[in-house]
């Protein structure tokens, strides 16, 4: 019982920490704060917290939780490679208004006026991939190891969230990017289908049992 609660708390904190990163760009684009300031005050601490949760979970013997987070991170990183292949192809075909990772980089390093350089590109790509890892962790902690269609649905939901958020509208292309062209929603959706498919496939390779958050709650309530 005590261990179940402990695991549940660790899962909750890990979910909160993973949820910070993807929201920062949206908050910045909504005009509430600069991404550079948000990165220092929230992004870096959230990464530290997530890694600390991994460490604590390992020390406390929550091997399932450790493997879930780990598979989430690696699966998210791998899935972002797939997303990037589709997104970049879409960009080259005129379906995207710009190079999102480069934009993230200049905003992160507060050098929009000077444009991208290798360091800002590195920061932008790093942030982009970390967002993928964060979504991977969120996916595996929320849902465990569902079937592939579940992860594809998760990916599509992320894509829709992106297209209706200030992250897209602040680019001046409207909701779903329809003021740019129809290639935008097509590219974003396909990229996130690829993300979801690869994430789902990878997470299923985890041989350990993976519990969804609902299963954890059930476990605690049944033990009472």
């Amino acid at each position: 019982m005590k261990r179940s609660i402990e695991k549940f708390v660790l899962t909750g904190v890990a979910l909160l920490a993973a949820g910070i990163s993807p929201n920062l760009f949206v908050i910045a684009q909504a005009g509430y704060a600069k991404l550079s300031a948000l990165a220092i005050n929230f992004l870096l601490p959230s990464i530290v917290v997530l890694l600390a949760i991994l460490l604590v979970a390992a020390i406390r013997g929550h091997t399932n939780l450790v493997s879930q987070i780990w598979y989430g991170i690696l699966g998210g990183l791998l899935a972002t490679v797939g997303l990037e292949i589709v997104r970049h192809t879409g960009f080259l075909l005129g379906g995207m208004p710009g190079e999102m990772p480069k934009l993230l980089g200049v905003l992160l390093l507060d050098r929009f006026a000077l444009g991208p350089n290798w360091l800002s590109n590195l920061a932008g790509w790093g942030y982009h991939f970390w967002n993928g890892a964060a979504f991977g962790v969120i996916y595996t902690l929320l849902f465990g190891k569902p079937r592939l269609w579940g992860s594809i649905g998760f990916g599509v939901l992320i894509g829709i969230g992106f297209m209706i958020s200030p992250a897209t509208t602040a680019l001046g292309i409207g909701i779903f990017g329809l003021q740019f062209n129809v290639g935008f929603p097509v590219t974003v959706t396909l990229a996130h289908v690829a993300f979801g498919a690869i994430l789902g496939w990878y997470v299923q390779r985890n041989r350990q049992e993976a519990f969804s958050i609902i299963q954890q709650i059930k476990e605690i309530t049944q033990a009472r």
Partner: protein, 156 residues
Amino acid sequence: MKRFTRAFTGIATLILGIMLSTGNLHAQNSGLVTVQSGKDFDQTVESLRQMVSKNDMMVMSEINQGKILSMTGLQLNATSLFVGNPNIGNKLFSAGKGVGVAVPVRVNIYEAKDGKTYINYVKPSQQLASFDNQQISKIGQMLDQKLNKLTSMLAK
């Protein structure tokens, strides 16, 4: 006397025509001044920075439009320098708090489709004219002269 007047008018027209046809300096009614640089884009940006410094001003900020737009896939050479100095700023803002709309002065350097590099700016006096303040106007004219001097040194 008539002959002299005709000859003078003819020469004046000729000089004006030559000045306009060279294309080195255009100042339209909008106050936009465009100068063709004798150097390539990078050299022009570098030289302008140095000349700004030599003329008791500083580059307070810079927008690399070319690099920014490279994120959209567009390739071009264009940079805007925001030029001024704290002393002029102090005088201007003391005379009118709203002058920030016109200063620091924006000087734009760009490579046109013909491959030539141009420097353009809107005359500060024109931008500051709407403040209807003699001191501001005076500083605006002084800035005009400074910019004219700067860009003339780079003109082809």
